[in-house]
């Protein structure tokens, strides 16, 4: 019991300090764990400044069949040690987030830089890219929004590959199965390819026999 309340106290304290350090909150939404000053380990100075605009909404799902929500862009690339100002715009009438995961925990509690808008609106937030070659996950963590298209990747220093199921970039690891299109064109193409394999095999067999 004592241990538990002790833990709770520590949790609340850390929450309090974190909120003191970098928490902006209001009836518009919140920006949590911003970092515009502190240099990541291995960065001597801010190498460059960049600003991007991220638009979120159902509008951006249209380009990717089978998704419902989306960002206007799903890959962001930055050099190392760069101060990035994100201008986050929510075009829907519901909550959306732009949340980057896996950042250094000494700069961002839980490794998270979190922007959230409770409805239509716009907010700015800043973070500094670490001195790494890494691909970070950026997403909206409202239930099922990432799964239904609100997923992006942030590549720092070129990144280390792609993350799975980024709309327009990479495929699913837990794949959806679709029935075959039974239209003439598709079936004709399938028959032709199948025949090609079949006839090719018979042809080689006969030639060997002679």
């Amino acid at each position: 019991m004592i241990k538990r309340s002790g833990l709770l106290l520590i949790a609340l304290l850390s929450l309090a300090t974190a909120s003191q350090a970098s928490m902006r909150m209001g009836d518009w939404g919140m920006v949590m764990n911003e970092n515009s000053q502190q240099l990541p380990q291995g960065c001597d100075s801010i190498a460059s400044e960049q600003s991007i605009t991220v638009k979120a909404g159902r509008e951006y799902a249209k380009a990717f069949p089978g998704t419902i929500f989306g960002y206007d862009q799903h890959t962001f690339s930055f050099p190392r040690c760069t101060r990035v100002t994100v201008n986050f715009i929510n075009e829907d009438q519901i909550r959306h987030q732009f949340m980057i995961h896996g950042l250094p925990t000494y700069l961002h509690p839980q490794g998270m830089f979190h922007m959230e808008l409770y409805g239509e609106g716009e907010v700015q937030g800043t973070f500094i890219t670490p001195n790494t070659e890494e691909t970070y996950l950026a997403h909206c963590d409202v239930a099922q929004h990432m799964e239904k298209g609100m997923k992006a990747q942030v590549k720092v220093g070129g990144g280390n590959g792609d993350l799975p199921s980024i709309p327009g970039v990479s495929g699913q690891l837990n794949k959806d199965r679709y029935p075959l299109d039974l239209g003439v064109q598709n079936m004709l193409l399938i028959s032709l390819l199948f025949l090609l394999g079949f006839a090719g095999c018979l042809f080689l067999y006969r030639r060997n026999k002679k």
């Binding site: 419902i68 009438q93 519901i94 949340m99 963590d141 239930a143 199921s165 690891l173 837990n174 959806d176």
Partner: protein, 570 residues
């Protein structure tokens, strides 16, 4: 090409097979051939039945997995008196305070201890000057539980109704902030995202603006079933309003003139959306002075801040929401990540007229998890108000052991006190609500005395979890003298810890294994070769198989030579 192998004749092979087949049957069980065979060969020798399997080594699971036991005590936060709760995992009192005061009226440190959005519940303007706010804005979102992820097999956000049981579901939830899951590694849903859809409370005569923010990937609406509202806000796509599409909002404005236990639910493809969980209690409390009502009661169960009207007659109040789940509908959302495929499977391929319910929930859990948060704890000589909603598609036959409670209202309308019925099985039709007065006076009618008394649906399938009992919506009425320090009832019955094991509900554990020191009812181990007859039997079966193979070879060779000869002639 010719066969060098010597070929047996077909008739001899056939005769040998038949004879050996007969021998095999006689060795296996002569009574199959002739029931009184023992007249000729004497009684069969004693053969010991296979031994029992060893009792399984069960993982020790904590019955009460308490998170914040300190939340059980009574609190006063922001001038709001919050009642103590006996649940293993009680409601967060800071969240209760934010629901009562409004998220706009609590100080930042209180709001920070919740996961609510700042605009989840906005309360302003005491229009009638009676000490409580009358303009109420309530925002609800739609959340999916146990959905599919394109990145792996794990369901997201995860929610267990019972050990290892994770059916897909949709719920209306108060507008929250932050992550849907506990964190990036633990994909369990945060505590606001859970079954059932949160009960909503307003006060009679309030100007209520209920805003549906559709965060889900299908269209939805809200139908305010039984709540006084104008036609404009009926929430029905076939009559009064357009579908609220993903990313969109719908505003419902009401000023309810009649108090009572009502209902709200989605009215889009109701046979699917209602059964997926988009159904909840909507309670209109009587208009009283200084009546700050608890706008949401997340997870239903004990209302930690009952309204002034309820407190006039009752010491405490519980919301009881009964639901059922057909896995062949609910688990469809786990079969694809593409909403177009899901819409087809749920609306056009799934047929509710062929459906059968598998899981039965009270307040979003099945036994034994009901024990962690759905106990009704009472003191002697106390009046407890129970508001019961039947959200399942069949009649609920709710039975209280040891108690006969009085039905004081049906569908939010009071029963004439002279005509009130006191009974021990309360039948509640689908979507119906009843208000019960559970009076713990030990008089042989209202109560038979103190103890730990079961409370469950007496349609027997509902006390099972996919056919395995005890499960389903079983819960308990517990006299507080019987509660132990872990907020669980100390019973004289069997140890319940076996039921907290997922294997139990997979049917892998013998029902009475933990309670049966004799091992009378343990699982039986497989039969082993234990007599010379069985040795012979297996050898004979081997020979029989070889004969059949030879027979096939013989037949194949015959056909082959026939065609070869014909070819040579040509």
């Amino acid at each position: 090409m010719t066969f060098k192998m010597r070929l047996f004749s077909v008739p001899s092979l056939l005769i040998s097979s038949i004879v050996l087949g007969l021998v095999a049957v006689l060795l296996y069980d002569p009574s199959l051939v002739y029931a009184r065979f023992f007249d000729y060969i004497g009684m069969p020798a004693y053969q010991e039945a296979p031994i029992s399997k060893p009792k399984p080594d069960l993982e020790k699971i904590t019955v009460c997995d308490e998170q914040y036991p300190e939340w059980r005590k009574a609190y006063t936060i922001g001038g709001i008196d919050i009642q103590a709760s006996d649940a293993c995992n009680p409601d967060n009192p800071y969240e209760v305070a934010a629901f009562v005061r409004g998220t706009n009226n609590v100080i930042m440190p209180v709001l920070m201890r919740t996961q609510l959005a700042d605009d989840a519940v906005v309360k302003t303007n005491d229009i009638d000057g009676d000490g409580d706010p009358d303009d109420i804005v309530i925002r609800v979102e739609v959340a999916e539980l146990n959905g599919r992820s394109p990145d792996g097999k794990e369901l997201i956000p995860g929610y267990e109704i019972a050990p290892g049981i994770t059916p897909g579901a949709w719920v209306f939830a108060p507008k929250s902030r932050g992550m849907a899951t506990v964190n990036r590694l633990d994909l369990t849903a945060n505590h606001l995202l859970r079954l059932p859809s949160a009960p909503i409370r307003v006060e009679e005569g309030d100007n209520v603006t209920l805003i549906l923010e559709n965060t889900h990937y299908f269209p939805h609406t809200i139908h305010l079933h039984g709540v006084d509202h104008s036609y404009e806000y009926d929430g029905v796509p076939q009559t009064n309003e357009k579908l609220t599409m993903p990313g969109g909002q719908q505003v419902y404005k009401i000023k309810p003139r009649h108090a009572g236990t009502m209902h709200y639910h989605c009215h889009v493809q109701v046979q699917v959306h209602y059964m997926m969980g988009l159904q909840g209690l909507f309670i209109v409390e009587e208009n009283k002075p200084n009546n700050w009502v608890q706008t949401f009661n997340v997870g239903a169960g004990k209302v930690r801040k009952p309204s002034q009207g309820v407190l006039e007659t009752y010491a405490q109040e519980y919301d009881l929401h009964y639901q059922a789940i057909d896995t062949s509908l609910n688990n469809l959302i786990q079969t694809s990540n593409d909403p177009r495929q899901l819409a087809k499977r749920m609306n056009r391929i799934y047929d509710i007229t062929d459906g059968t319910d598998d899981y039965f929930l009270l307040n979003g859990r099945s036994f034994p998890y009901t024990l962690r948060e759905s106990l009704i704890t009472v003191e002697p000589n106390q009046h407890t108000k129970l508001r019961v909603l039947n959200g399942s598609p069949e009649i609920l036959a709710l039975h209280t052991h040891g108690h006969k409670a009085t039905i004081t209202a049906y569908d939010g309308v009071d029963v004439n006190p002279l005509a009130q019925i006191t009974r021990d099985v309360y039948s509640v039709s689908p979507a119906q609500r009843i208000d019960l007065d559970l009076y713990t006076k030990d008089n042989g009618v209202n109560s038979y005395g103190e103890g730990v008394w079961l409370m469950h649906d007496h349609s027997e399938r509902a006390i099972t979890t996919d056919g395995i009992a005890p499960g389903g919506n079983i819960s308990q009425i517990v006299y507080r003298n019987y509660l132990n320090k872990n907020a669980m009832a100390t019973t004289q019955g069997e140890d319940l810890s076996a039921y907290f094991n997922p294997e139990y509900y997979q049917g892998k554990l013998a029902t009475w294994s933990a309670a049966d020191p004799f091992g009378f009812f343990d699982d039986v181990a497989g039969a082993k070769i234990s007599s010379y007859k069985e040795v012979l039997l297996i050898i004979v079966l081997g020979v029989l198989f070889a004969l059949i193979v030879l027979l096939f070879v013989r037949l194949f060779a015959g056909v082959y030579t026939f065609f070869m000869k014909r070819d040579n002639k040509q």
